[in-house]
């Protein structure tokens, strides 16, 4: 009975609170669409090179372990790990593979490549004053010239392009520019432009050509390599689009540098339009997404944006990552036309993105909740579909638990009264919530998917409907519903556990009221 009195008093204050506040959509730090952190153009080569190694040796070896061997370990460390007479124990599967398979061809190549890298990095050796002091130490006898000779002497097929790239690299490092260009032309002219090694070697040949004064040819090689930073042209991206329209570095530049600034985005609109019209551009979905993002985010033209995002999803994307973002971005425009079926389809698709094995799971969790909170619920609410909106809010709120690592086994009465679900329910009239409850309990594929345990708990609804009725002055309905709130449910509430229900509602407790400690509530 005390609880009823307490609720009655509280209800006197509720309309004021309800009128002044909410519902407030939760503010969720959500990763932006389209925009990404930039990579250096050469980062692409690194990733592609790791995948190439993986395909050349074993797809069972994780890229991280290949990276450790190929890029991280020093020349000495590598030689130590692959020394056939004194092999060290290791958990790295690439070393295990190299040693167990006795792949001397790969070992010799990697040793040479590391030797070149070490010599190239060595400041002393990069100095024009450098001269080796030992002739019998083959590795250091004549610096990079030794490696150049070794690489040129390779007569196998498996690593032919890799060795040729290393030759170009070493020739460039030793300022043998004409020789570098000549060697590049002699080896790579007949090799397809798609070859990673050709592109990487082309960067060195391009650098050599700059030294030799041939910027025109140098630019074509830089464009082939995706190295827009090295281009000697007025508009690098336009040149890239013309020369190598599908280079991933272009879109990376657009997403990392251009998309972060409205002026830059506007400045590059003609380029995006041109890309969409260019028949050589394969990944036009990327460009249409660019336009959709610009018109929605910076031009406040959602209809144009929606047109472009719809167009984008009919085109090819350069990556699943970008396509998935575009899929989610499209959901932001669907609020007005949502159906139960489309919501269910979208939610199931979003759920797949929140696979706990995915490194992006957390981002997708937030992205999905943000779509529900910011784009769908307002639209559903606007058209009076309170049941669906409340179920979606509850679904999105529930995703918050894993986000903050809370215990899933919460007390039934401990539902967050600050959540959007309760804000939405509390903003209705009692008769509306009664109707909502009835609708929620009806069986549809979407509701069956969304309806969680708390939404099936009559105590929660009876408690809230009764409270709303109190606010409305409909005491008969209030008593009717509040009487149905089970004692176990009341005891599970924090309000009860903190002892508030044991207090006399007509007595002033300054020592408690003025000392509002958050700890009492948690």
């Amino acid at each position: 009975m005390k609880s009823k009195v307490f609720m009655l008093l509280a209800a006197e204050l509720l309309p004021v609170v309800a009128n002044a506040c909410g519902p407030f959509n939760p503010i969720i730090p959500t990763p932006p669409y389209f925009v990404t952190e930039g990579n250096e153009p050469t980062d692409y080569n690194r990733i592609e090179n790791l995948k190439l190694w993986q395909s050349q040796i074993s797809d069972q070896i994780p890229l991280a372990e290949i990276e450790q061997v190929v890029y991280a370990d020093s020349h000495d460390r590598f030689n130590e790990m692959t020394n056939p007479n004194d092999r060290k124990s290791t958990l790295n599967r690439m070393y295990i593979y190299l040693n167990d398979s006795n792949n001397t061809e790969a070992i010799e190549f990697l040793s040479l490549a590391k030797g070149i890298e070490e010599a190239r990095r060595d400041d002393e050796r990069r100095s024009p004053w450098y001269y080796p002091s030992k002739r019998n130490d083959e590795r250091t006898t004549d610096g990079l010239d030794y490696f150049i000779r070794q690489a040129m002497n390779y007569d196998g097929e498996n690593f032919k392009e890799r060795y040729a790239m290393q030759v170009c690299r070493a020739l460039f490092a030793t300022n043998q520019f004409a020789r570098c260009v000549e060697y590049y032309d002699s080896i790579f002219s007949g090799i397809d432009d798609a070859s990673l090694m050709k592109r990487m070697a082309g960067n060195y040949a391009g650098g050599s050509l700059i030294h030799l004064g041939d910027t025109v040819k140098a630019n074509t090689l830089f464009a082939l390599a995706g190295d827009y930073n090295s281009l000697f042209v007025e508009n690098p991206m336009e040149y890239m689009l013309d020369q190598n329209p599908n280079a991933p570095q272009i879109m990376d530049y657009m997403r990392s540098y251009v998309a972060a600034d409205s002026a830059r985005m506007a400045q590059h609109l003609p380029l995006a339009v041109k890309a969409l019209a260019n028949r050589d551009v394969t990944y036009k979905g990327d460009w249409a997404f660019y336009l959709a993002y610009f018109y929605n985010h910076f031009a406040q033209a959602p209809q144009t944006a929606e047109n472009f995002i719809n167009k984008a999803l009919k085109l090819q994307f350069s990556s699943d990552e970008l396509k998935n973002q575009a899929m989610a971005y499209k959901m932001k425009f669907e609020g007005a036309s949502l159906t139960q079926q489309s919501i269910l389809t979208n939610l199931r698709w979003l759920d797949q993105r929140v696979d706990s094995l995915s490194p992006d799971a957390k981002d997708w969790n937030r992205r999905g909740r943000n779509i529900i909170y910011s784009d769908w619920i307002p639209q559903l609410w606007k058209r009076g579909d309170y049941a669906t909106a409340i179920l979606l809010a509850d679904y999105a709120d529930s995703k918050n638990l894993t986000d903050y690592g809370r215990d899933e086994n919460v007390n039934p009465g401990d539902m967050d009264r600050g959540s959007l679900t309760f804000q939405l329910m509390g903003s209705l009239r009692s008769d509306q919530l009664i109707a909502v409850r009835q609708k929620i309990m009806s069986s549809t594929p979407l509701y069956d998917f969304l309806r969680r345990e708390d939404m099936q708990n009559p105590n929660m609804f009876n408690d809230l409907i009764g409270t709303l009725a109190l606010r409305e002055g409909n005491y008969a309905r209030a008593v009717d519903y509040l009487l149905q709130v089970g004692i176990d449910y009341q005891h599970s509430m924090r309000l009860y556990r903190a002892g508030y229900l044991g207090l006399d509602p007509f007595v002033y407790y300054p020592e408690r009221w003025e000392k509002c400690e958050w700890e009492d509530w948690v």
Binding site: S127, P128, Y131
Partner: protein, 352 residues
């Protein structure tokens, strides 16, 4: 265009001689032996070169290791035209020439020297470290001396002397058993001696090679005599280097246009003799990447033994009270075959 050889001016005049300054560093004492300069970019000792060295008991090679030239970039001055020692010669040096003394020589251009003004210490370290590495790498035998070759003048004297001081200091810091020597051009005899342990008097490139009216810029007694009056009092131990090379100087419209040694001047269909050592191109002649044009003047200069003999006689008058060695510049069998055995022995002979 081929690289120019270091130039020298000439003087002649004798006066009383003084004892040379004694070397102060801890290194093997300088020996008076027959020696040669080797001034090419690839060290190749063919059988005739080896035969020459054996026949004339050549015990010391002054080996140019690299030049120091100006660099537009961060380094200021950089090594250039480093000598390369092929494997065959490396094995030869390592296994069969251990009784030979090698003097590494570094030619320092004036631009290179000026570029390192106030950074002579850095340049010195770079030079000494690089020479040290090249000596080790190529197993150069019997190295107890490093020689700097520079055509310093009054305006660059201070930089060069500072460099010499710094090189000596670096040698000491690295505890290398090397003395430091320097080439001494005839015109430098009139100046203060550089702070080195010894010198080699260069009795070649005595005239102005680029002057179309010079008779012979390699060696000419008239050019040399005016300078010799200071020789006997020069405060450094000096050995003497005599030329045995020849070259062809090309002039166009009385302006110097290049140096070569490869033209067949006996082909009268292309070159018409004009006087003792002058030739006129009678037609356009392709030459390397360029063209010798009809009307170009070619001056053939050589190191005539009689001229060498005359000069040597005058120099020996000055050095009669001192110890010294004679050096042939440079070890090139193609040129040396122009001299008889007696002539070579005469050049090497001391106090004859």
């Amino acid at each position: 265009m081929k690289k120019f050889l270091p130039l020298l001016l000439l003087t002649a005049a004798l006066s009383s001689c003084l004892k040379p300054q004694k070397a102060l560093t801890e290194h093997p004492e300088h020996q008076e032996v027959n020696a040669v300069y080797y001034w090419k970019t690839v060290f190749q000792l063919d059988s005739s070169a080896r035969q020459f060295m054996a026949e004339y008991d050549v015990k010391r090679i002054y080996l140019r290791l690299f030049d120091v030239t100006a660099d537009d970039g961060e380094w200021g001055a950089v090594p250039n035209a480093s000598i390369r020692v092929p494997e065959r010669e490396f094995q030869l040096l390592k296994n069969e020439m251990d009784s030979m003394e090698t003097v590494p020589v570094v030619y320092i251009t004036l631009d290179g020297l000026r570029a390192m003004t106030d950074r002579e210490g850095t340049l010195a370290k770079n030079i000494v470290n690089r020479v040290h590495n090249m000596v080790q790498y190529n197993s150069l035998p019997g190295v107890s001396e490093l020689q700097l070759d520079c055509d310093w003048t009054e305006s660059t004297e201070e930089q060069f002397f500072t460099l010499c001081d710094s090189v000596r200091k670096t040698i000491k810091e690295l505890e290398l058993p090397w003395r430091l020597s320097s080439t001494i051009r005839l015109h430098q005899l009139a100046k203060q001696a550089p702070p080195v342990d010894a010198g080699v008097l260069m009795v070649y490139n005595t005239g102005t090679y680029s002057d179309p009216d010079t008779k012979n810029s390699i060696i000419n007694i008239e050019d040399i005599m005016p300078y010799l009056k200071r020789l006997n009092s020069y405060p450094l131990h000096l050995d003497v280097a005599y030329p045995t090379y020849s070259w062809q100087l090309i002039f166009r419209d009385r302006k110097f246009a290049g140096i070569t040694s490869e033209l067949n001047l006996t082909d009268t269909s292309k070159f018409e003799p004009r006087g003792e050592n002058l030739f006129i191109a009678v037609e356009d002649i392709p030459y390397n990447d360029t063209m010798i044009l009809k009307g170009d003047l070619i001056r053939l200069e050589s190191s005539d033994f009689k001229e060498i003999e005359t000069v040597k006689r005058e120099i020996e008058k000055c050095l009669s009270s001192r110890k010294y060695s004679n050096i042939i510049y440079h070890l090139d069998p193609e040129n040396l075959k122009n001299y008889s055995s007696d002539e070579i022995k005469s050049i090497y002979a001391v106090g004859s």
